[in-house]
């Protein structure tokens, strides 16, 4: 169960892969501005690669959960990260959860609301 943490003043993303639930859960906090989103993208990619190796032949059915419960702002860089995540093998496995109403609307406006809960 790898946990990768990337902490900076303006951002914290913690990623956790849970074999039993077959999901990669990424918990974000703070302001996901352009700079933070760039760092988050690297962290996410690294966690995803690690989880893929652990899962072996079941790689295509892994769920990706982005938990935005502690996020109050997202920039377009983060939306791009979501699009990138949604295109991982298996498709349609991204779930963005715990969004505030403001952020839910932002995803709706961007046409990315299909995977926001």
């Amino acid at each position: 169960m790898p946990t990768i943490q990337n902490e900076r003043e303006s951002l914290m993303i913690s990623t956790k892969y849970e074999m039993e639930c077959d999901e990669l859960r990424c918990v974000f906090t703070g302001r996901l501005d352009a700079e933070a989103s760039r760092a988050d993208t690297e962290t996410f990619e690294s966690a995803w690669q690690t989880a893929q190796k652990e899962r072996g032949d079941r790689a295509s059915s892994m769920k990706i959960i982005f938990d935005l419960g502690e996020v109050d702002y997202v920039a377009s860089g983060f939306l791009r990260l979501c699009m990138q995540a949604s295109k991982k093998p298996g498709g349609n496995q991204l779930h963005v959860v715990n969004t505030s109403p403001d952020i839910k609307k932002l995803f709706a406006m961007a046409g990315l609301d299909l995977f926001v809960y």
Binding site: A34, S76, D102, F107, A110
Partner: protein, 485 residues
């Protein structure tokens, strides 16, 4: 790819590019919507400063690339598009609550439209690009700049300068984009994209028509054919100097520039003398024939080769010579319509010249010119007779009726009057447009209305069963409805 119909794989490719542009714009719109007024205004100010600081370089680029107009005049256009537009919109509230009215119970809240496609004409490329970017950013709408093929480089340069400044000021990624290619197929794919919110269509009739036909809401412009009437009460030297400054500005590329001067016979000699004093040349009949054959195509459209060229160049293209330093070609005409090709719009230093018996025949000539091809656009009068000015204002079908003002500069606002400075001049229903106003930031907002209960007291007290009573006619019902409680 050119202008050929792109089908099959090519069509898929074009749609893919359009989808990508729109996806980026949508994401930008989503993020930008969360910005407050202060952050928005900061971005607009930084973009204005960046564009203004590069006004000369961009003007030279535009003149060189399009081979139209005068770069010094394009500098003035760039100043208007940045400095004067910024001054005009700076204090306009475009974010959050716009107004609250306790009496009506209505609170108005600004909401961005979404991605806007900015179609840019060849005649005012860098100025229109910066103008549209500023009003879109002020209203938190991402903008996609679509330049004409003859002005790609300068428009991209203007857009890039604005985009870099916007990003530095904290604007969301992709708040300004420009079309990666300028084919007709690409433009149509974006214009008809279901995610596009609005087209700001400034350009020729064909392009504006295509924008309206795309299914996406559009704010367009109509063609101009600006008559200017000089009556015998006008200050003639002032009137002619003003018309010269307007009609020769950027070699006549502004669609609000005068196309025909109409005057009473009794002042004709004085007016001609004034034009000649300012290097306007009254052409001989034979040269008028040559000029109309050159400047107007057989289908009645203006010849693009003469657009934005100097008077001397136009004369040379038409096959006759004029004295060195000639600034304006005056063509005496006696009628309007297809048999008199120069009675229509030509964006070059060519001015039709009509001498009429009296004020009434002069104003009727202006009506003919107005309805010939410039309905809803602009008309101008030089007079010091208020009754005549009022009559002219009533009879012209024009979004802007300018009084004692150069029409090019007057119509675009911000210098000679208090019209909104703009490079998109609405022409109302006559020009197939939704507004007669000079388009600006306020036209790019959806206004939501939060409505609190405010009962219609008369209706509440009225016995509504009376509506079903066939014996009650309208007077009986209105008597009860309007009863004084």
């Amino acid at each position: 790819m050119g202008a050929s119909q792109e089908t099959g794989d090519g069509g898929v490719r074009v749609r893919g590019i359009a989808d990508d542009l729109m996806q980026r714009a949508l994401m930008s719109a989503a993020v930008y919507e969360s910005y407050d007024q202060e952050a928005t205004d900061h971005i607009v100010e930084r973009v204005f400063r960046a564009g203004f600081n590069r006004r000369v370089e961009l003007a030279k680029m535009a003149a060189e690339e399009t081979r139209m107009g005068v770069w010094q005049h394009k500098v003035i256009k760039n100043v208007l598009a940045t400095h004067l537009v910024y001054e005009n919109i700076r204090d306009t509230k475009t974010v959050g609550v716009l107004s609250e009215n306790e009496v009506t119970g209505i609170t108005e809240i600004a909401q961005p439209l979404g991605p806007v496609l900015a179609i840019i004409p060849v005649t005012n490329p860098t100025s229109t690009t910066m103008f549209k970017i500023l009003i879109c950013l002020k209203t938190r709408n991402p903008v996609i700049v679509s330049p004409t093929r003859k002005a790609v480089k300068c428009c991209e340069a203007a857009a890039r300068i604005c985009y870099e400044a916007a990003l530095e000021a904290g604007a969301p990624d992709d708040c300004i984009q420009w079309m990666p290619e300028t084919s007709r197929e690409m433009t149509h794919a974006v214009m008809g994209h279901k995610k596009l919110a609005l087209i700001l269509a400034t350009g020729g009739t064909g392009l504006v028509g295509a924008a309206y036909s795309s299914g996406t809401p559009a704010i367009g412009v109509g063609p101009g054919n600006v008559p200017v009437l000089i009556d015998d009460s006008a200050d003639l030297p002032f009137a002619v100097e003003s018309i010269m400054a307007s009609k020769t500005f950027d070699n006549g590329t502004i669609c609000a520039s005068e196309q025909a001067v109409v005057l009473e016979e009794r002042i004709s000699a004085d007016v001609r003398r004034e034009f000649e004093r300012h290097n306007g040349v009254m052409l001989a009949a034979e040269d008028v024939r040559r000029l109309q054959a050159c400047a107007v195509l057989p289908n009645g459209n203006m010849n693009p080769d003469v657009v934005g060229q100097s008077a001397e160049t136009v004369a040379r293209l038409a096959g006759f010579s004029v004295p060195e330093g000639t600034r304006l070609l005056l063509a005496r005409l006696t009628g309007t319509g297809l048999e008199h090709p120069l009675s229509g719009e030509v964006l070059a230093p060519i001015l039709a010249f009509y001498e009429e018996r009296d004020f009434n025949t002069a104003i009727k000539r202006c009506i003919d010119l107005n309805y010939l091809g410039g309905v809803g656009h602009t008309a101008a009068i030089y007079s010091n007779n208020e009754e005549r000015i009022a009559l002219f204002g009533r009879l012209m079908n024009a979004g802007r009726v300018l009084v004692n003002t150069p029409s090019s500069q007057g119509a675009v606002g911000g210098t000679y009057n208090t019209l909104n400075p703009s490079f998109t001049l609405g022409c109302g229903s006559g020009g197939k447009n939704s507004t007669t106003e000079n388009v600006t930031a306020k036209h790019l907002i959806n206004i939501k209305r939060l409505c609190r209960p405010r009962l219609n007291e008369r209706l509440a007290r009225f016995n509504r069963e009376e509506y079903c009573d066939e014996t009650k006619d309208v007077d009986a019902i209105l008597r009860d409805y309007n009863r004084n409680w």
